[in-house]
């Protein structure tokens, strides 16, 4: 007996009970759609996070003060202040003999304070960096210029404004050349950054950049950095540069045993890996919860198929009387339940894709950097799950049908 005939029989039977078939399908539709939506929304949210990290570039490494576990957060994240990163480290890292693939190095320190220009006043964040900063973070000023290493060394009171800060203080007026006050110290505006938005989880437009040493000596009263970034000439050299950086800093800090490290070197890739591991776990956990609804849908199918077997007892009896083998009857009912789940699965995929697209559309309309990710894997998975659900939950009713005694079945009223 040809499969096409079996499929035809099954379709006829399902069409005869249209609304019941649809309601049974609904469980699978909802289950598959939610799996797709959650997988896609999860991947979208993941892209949001990953894009944040990628937005500040991936070909640099970051040195955090203090030691940390291999894959754990740097100790600075835990609120500990470690003062191990100094000017000498930056000088050592800039030396090509120490770090051959390092092309630019800057330290960072930061503070908050009131920034004023004439009668305009805002609470702002200032970041102290050196003249290599534009190269490290791939950012070029939109107006004026960035400060030089001489200005940094001589504690020059110059500032480069983030786009938003410039707007808040000067609105449409020319800012370069004006003098503003940061924590009551006067600084000359020498440049303005372009609008860059959120980079690395912070809105860089609301920052102001001043020479790191000026920040240390005049505004912060410290002599250490909260982190150092080393730009690498090529992503392929990142691992080597991490090693070079560690060796340089150990020598600089007179550390002989790596266990005694008072710093942590991380690449952007490390950060990405950690974040991806966490977000993947979340994504699959949520998808697993959604998949539970598929089991509920499957139970619904089993229930309806059992009802159908009961209702069609005489039909089964007749089919057997005219020569249907047990296997024919079994296949017929199995195919029916698989058709329900497969068609339901396809409808679910379509709905899932439509909703995922809507979510991405809304997120982008709200200016999140959200990728629409509908992985073929999720679709293949959803399709196979729906077939498996149909087979598993159709098996019991189908075997009941196939084992019916034709005489009993024909007599059944």
């Amino acid at each position: 007996m040809r499969p096409s005939i079996l499929i035809d029989i099954s379709f006829r039977a399902l069409r005869a009970k249209r609304s019941r078939t649809f309601l049974t399908m609904l469980g699978i539709i909802i289950g598959i759609a939610s799996v797709i939506i959650i997988m896609s929304a999860g991947a979208g949210a993941q892209s949001l996070i990953v894009n944040q990290i990628k937005s500040i570039g991936t070909n640099f490494i970051t040195v955090f003060p203090g030691k940390s576990e291999d894959k754990g957060p740097p100790s600075s994240v835990l609120g500990l202040i470690t003062t191990s990163l100094k000017d000498a480290d930056i000088t050592a890292l800039l030396n090509k003999n120490n770090v051959p693939h390092g092309i630019a190095v800057t330290g960072y320190n930061r503070g908050v304070g009131t920034i004023t220009w004439r009668d305009q006043q805002i609470d702002g964040t200032f970041v102290g960096v050196n003249s290599y900063f534009p190269e490290v973070e791939d950012s070029q000023v939109a107006e004026g210029r960035f400060f030089t290493e001489d200005e940094n060394a001589s504690l020059a009171r110059v500032v480069v404004l983030g786009y938003q800060t410039k707007q808040d203080l000067f609105a449409d007026q020319e800012a370069v050349g004006q003098v503003i006050k940061i924590k009551k110290s006067a600084f000359t505006v020498i440049g303005v950054n372009p609008k860059e938005g959120v980079k690395g989880f912070q809105n860089v437009d609301s920052l102001v950049y001043i020479p790191a040493k000026t920040a240390q000596k005049i505004l912060l009263g410290t002599n250490y950095y909260s982190q150092i970034r080393v730009k690498v000439d090529d992503e392929a050299n990142i691992d080597e540069t991490i090693l070079d950086t560690q060796l340089t800093l150990r020598e600089d800090h007179r550390i002989t045993n790596p266990i005694d490290d008072d710093f942590t070197v991380r690449s952007q890739k490390d950060s990405l890996d950690i974040l991806l591991a966490v977000t993947n776990a979340l994504k699959f956990f949520l998808a697993a919860i959604a998949a539970i609804s598929l089991i509920v849908g499957g139970v619904g199918i089993m229930n309806i198929m059992l009802v159908a077997v009961n209702e069609r007892t005489r039909e089964i009896g007749l089919r057997k009387a005219v020569g249907a083998k047990n296997g024919n009857i079994m296949s017929q009912f199995l195919i029916e339940s698989v058709i329900i789940t497969l068609v339901g699965g396809i409808i679910g995929i379509v709905i899932g894709v439509v909703f995922s697209t809507l979510i991405a559309f809304v997120a982008r309309a709200l200016s999140y950097n959200w990728d629409l990710v509908i992985s073929p894997f999720a679709i293949i998975l959803a399709t196979s799950i729906s077939i498996v659900v149909g087979l598993v939950f159709g098996l019991y009713p189908a075997s009941r049908a196939s084992k019916l005694n034709p005489i009993e079945a024909l007599r059944y009223e």
């Binding site: 007996m1 057997k320 009387a321 020569g323 249907a324 083998k325 024909l410």
Partner: protein, 240 residues
């Protein structure tokens, strides 16, 4: 062809329900030759349906042997029996048992669906023509009258060109005019060489056959040739 189409030797059937087990058939010995038209009569519960089910491969004997065309089929498994049902026999039931919301063509086609052959459209159409329903070939089963339904059932029984047609109270749900039509078709088929086994409890219907086997309490009580056979076509003619 074998001399005997059906040979039952000491066939018995017990149902294992309760402690004692019900005896449905007891020591049945029966020969049926090809081309015979046999009626099986008996009150309800006599075992006549069980006998038909065993002869029609719908049920297996609990004891004794069943030779069909000289082959012992007593111990055939479900699938083998399904295969014989498909090719060797056709059934006509009291309740018609047509597929609902399905047209005449598809109903008649059904046995061919389960045959391991390519579907032959001509066979289906010929079977429908044979019962005079070609003009209703695309009608759904629920649009037919009782008599027409039973004729569709006969066409379905015929479509695979079986050796035997089993008719279980085929006129039981029909008015006398439609009933006569059915008997006429069965007699025509018999005249054309088909073996017909008719199960009924009505003496008059039974007398359309050549031979009447009477059953009571699971045993054959009489097995006689019909002396004055009814012919459905003649009666029809006389009435006119």
């Amino acid at each position: 062809m074998a001399d005997l189409l059906i040979k039952l030797v000491n066939v018995g059937k017990q149902y294992e329900s309760g402690e004692s087990g019900t005896v449905a058939l007891n020591d049945i010995n029966l020969d049926i030759k090809p081309g015979e038209f046999v009626s099986i009569m008996g009150p309800s519960g006599s075992g006549k349906s069980t006998l038909m089910h065993i002869m029609g491969f719908l049920d297996k004997p609990s004891s004794g042997q069943y030779f069909y065309k000289d082959q012992d089929v007593s111990n055939f498994d479900d699938d083998k029996l399904a295969g014989i049902r498909n090719t060797e026999v056709g059934f006509v039931f009291q309740a018609f048992n047509l597929l609902q919301r399905t047209n005449v063509y598809d109903n008649v086609k059904l046995p061919l669906v389960y045959a391991n052959k390519k579907l032959d459209k001509d066979k289906v159409e010929m079977a429908i023509k044979r019962v005079g329903l070609f003009h209703r070939i695309n009608n759904l089963s629920n649009q037919l009258s009782g008599g027409e339904k039973q004729r569709v059932a006969i066409a379905r029984a015929l479509v695979n060109d079986p050796s035997i047609i089993f008719a279980d109270e085929p006129t039981g749900n029909l008015d006398s005019k439609s009933g006569k039509q059915i008997m006429e078709i069965l007699q025509d088929l018999n005249a054309a060489g088909k073996t017909i086994i008719l199960v009924t409890h009505e003496q008059e219907t039974a007398e359309h056959a050549q031979r009447i086997i009477k059953i009571r309490d699971g045993q054959i009580v009489s097995d006689e040739q019909v002396k004055e056979r009814h012919f459905a076509r003649q009666e029809d003619g006389l009435r006119k």
